[in-house]
Symmetry: C3
Subunit: 344 residues, 3 copies
């Protein structure tokens, strides 16, 4: 698409080569020739002079330097987003229908306008709500209940009797309802005897939940592992058995929540953090990346480190080397002075 | 099921509304109206007064307060477990048989009473023992050997020539026998030349092993990556090439064992911990959550931190800020005193 | 194969039982009876006296003790590698061809000598280059482009419009092009309103890239998440949206790179490390296992700890407890001396 046409599409004005070809959209840093980019947040203004973009959407009154042709608009953020249908990848459309190769068990309830992809298996007694899209190669076990307008991507597995609400998105490879990790160990005559504790509960997921690729959520030992409404979980996260996640919680990539922990409403667990079993992260608390929570986190607190402590204390700990160095010099100084006094 | 009927099923006595409907079982904390719960461990006694359960199984002589109807039994733990067949999800039964859509290669040996699910692929020369269940969408590559009474859940992949013992459980998405991470780097005239080191070994898994969802176990560079009898591995764990895991080891979620490390019998690697390559974690040692092992861990030792040190030392390290603060005050005090002495 | 025949195959000489049967190859430590092993690196010489191998390949002039029969050769490393075709597992050969059960969409371009395995789905408009192998149970979404001589293992998923170069290896369960984690949060009258930010970019992977099992690479919010030529990524790694990975980067198991971070050429991110969003790890820098990068890492620097600091400083921090202990004793000593002076 010619630059002039892009400018027209966003109701913008420009001075420069309207014939230049625009092929794609990208951020200032990532942009290459033929890309259109944008500057909405002044934080990124320093990137303007080095961008390799061919065109950049800016505020009408922008004044900085930039090698690209500037397209002046009222709201660069909005204007840029409006280009997605033109330059973004073609959106995938799933027309309702059951692929001929899908295996649908006995007593399965399928809502209206459902899409089931190739080689997906839905076992006996499962129920799929209206408008839900289940891509290919998904495995839904017996008696699973899925709400309406959900989207399950390829290679998802949902174990028997688990329950999903409405508008749930499960990305590729998500595993719901795996047996939790639980054993009893007895020391027998011939050495330890390890017995699996039956995991006879389920996973219950609320409405408007999104779960990232290859994340695992274990079924409860009994009762339910629960993921509340509007919870957003990233890729490769581990959620143990009987964990209770309240609505509006965020869990970032590779974090882990051990069995029976409770994450209260509005809490944020950052990437690679861990929460030990049976603990509570209270409302709106945050757990820093890589932190290891070993005791309850109070409401609104931000904790960091392993074991996790309030962020302010953690920051003080980082100053320790400097503090000790200072003390060392003071002690050396004192030693000299005391020696001098002793000689006197 | 009516509460009175539940009480009868567990041989218990109660005072209260026998007509109340019980639908499910749950822990004291997770329970909602219509749930039956239990108190076996006095640690949870404080949860009794706030539980939302409709009924709670307690010891015959329990005396605390509780809004729920108490059902008094001899052994609440056992009684509760006995309710699982009634209130737990319907167990999945796999009748022996090969699904019509399973692709079975040439020279495959199938034992008696084997179940192979839809769209599962078993390549040439593989061997599956008696009574083993392989769910749908599993991929078993050439010349894999699987013992008897195993259960492989959907979307498991086992690469060529790997060997599994008897009664092995692989949860959904487990990947066995992936190439280990190994390259040689040479600096050529045009920059670095990176060459893949062939990974021509296998993975050999013993009897009674259970491996959690999306866990990965790499094949050996040569020889065998070994997982001993009765090893229990949780979800999202990484086991590198040539790792040797002795019997009765436990590895909790998201932990990682780097190439050629050796984990001896009875050791426990807690969640998100890491063990560097070529090291040994000796018998019955434990590695704390998020710890990073950089040298061998002695028999029976419990290590924590990165780099991992004995737990006692790690705990001392946590007291450092307080210790330094105390020292700081002492030094200030000394400075004042020395100054006074100097003036004299 | 008889030991004498093994010796002949590697042009070696031996004194001992040439009739002994050799079944497999293994390292000195892992070897069992019937195995052939080797000693190429003197670092492992101490393992010679305890090896359970039946035969060991050694340098012609090796002099140490060993219970196994020694086979003397010029280059033990090379000789050992040459045995892989004999003792290693049978290599899997994929004859070109499209399995009858593969679902190939409309407008798909397939190169010459392509292999597509059973139950693999390739959606409309995708393009697969010459000589590429796609194993069974793989899902390739619409308009994906894959280069030549690639190998995709089972249960890989590639979302719509993503692009792979030539000679790319994706191990089992890799997920390419998942939506990045992005939401806007507004506080509405009835509580928070969380809106998904559309993720309309793609993932673009260069040539000669290898990616380990169950690793996830998110598509860009817009533009491209980029993985450069010759990048080698291990298992269970998370790469966030819009991350830019330059050529020749290595990322070890379970590490995570947050959104829009930039990893420059030759950098190495070790296992379980994390890099926060929007940061740059500069050329040839290294991030230690479990380190947490919170600010840019300079060229060639090696950082460790959370937050990550130069390795030398991190090592100094580890000496702090000893330093504080020494200071404590000095202060006690000073206190005594000052008291003595005051009394005088």
């Amino acid at each position: 698409m010619k630059l002039s046409k892009v400018a027209k599409a966003v109701n913008g004005t420009f001075v420069g080569d309207g014939e230049a070809e625009i092929h794609a959209m990208a951020s200032l840093l990532e942009a290459r020739e033929g890309d259109v980019s944008f500057l909405a947040n002044q934080k990124y203004a320093a990137q303007m002079k080095d961008t390799k973009a061919t065109a950049v959407l800016v505020h009408a009154d922008y004044e900085g330097e930039c090698p690209a042709t500037l397209i002046r608009v009222e709201d660069p953020n909005k204007a840029f987003a409006s280009l997605a249908p033109i330059f973004g990848p073609k959106p995938v459309v799933r027309e309702p229908g059951i692929h001929a190769t899908a295996v649908i068990g006995e007593g399965v309830t399928l809502g209206k306008n459902v899409y089931i992809g190739p080689y997906t298996v839905i076992e006996d007694g499962a129920s799929i709500g209206d408008g839900t899209i289940i891509d290919g190669l998904v495995f839904i076990a017996q008696h699973v209940t899925i709400g309406r307008d959900c989207h399950l991507y390829p290679q998802v597995n949902i174990r028997e009797s688990c329950v999903l609400g409405d508008r749930v998105i499960l990305h590729a490879g998500v595993k719901i309802g795996t047996d939790g990790y639980g054993y009893t160990v007895e020391i027998g005559a011939k050495g330890p005897v390890i017995t699996k504790v039956p995991q006879v509960g389920i996973v219950e997921i609320g409405n408007d939940v999104e779960i990232g690729s290859n994340t695992c959520i274990d079924r409860a030992r009994f009762g339910r592992t629960r993921v509340g409404d509007c919870v957003k979980i990233d890729n490769l996260v581990q959620v143990g058995h009987n964990v209770q996640i309240a609505p509006f919680v965020g869990i970032i990539a590779q974090a882990g929540i051990a069995g029976s922990a409770k994450i209260e409403s509005g809490a944020l667990i950052w990437s690679q953090a861990g929460v030990s079993g049976h603990l509570t992260v209270h409302e709106r608390a945050q757990v820093a990346p890589q932190a290891g929570v070993k005791e309850d986190v109070p409401e609104g607190e931000y904790v960091a480190g392993t074991p996790a402590i309030p962020k302010r204390k953690f920051a003080e700990g980082l100053l320790l080397p400097r503090l000790v160095d200072k003390l060392k010099r003071k002690v050396a100084d004192l030693e000299a002075k005391v020696k001098a006094l002793e000689i006197k």
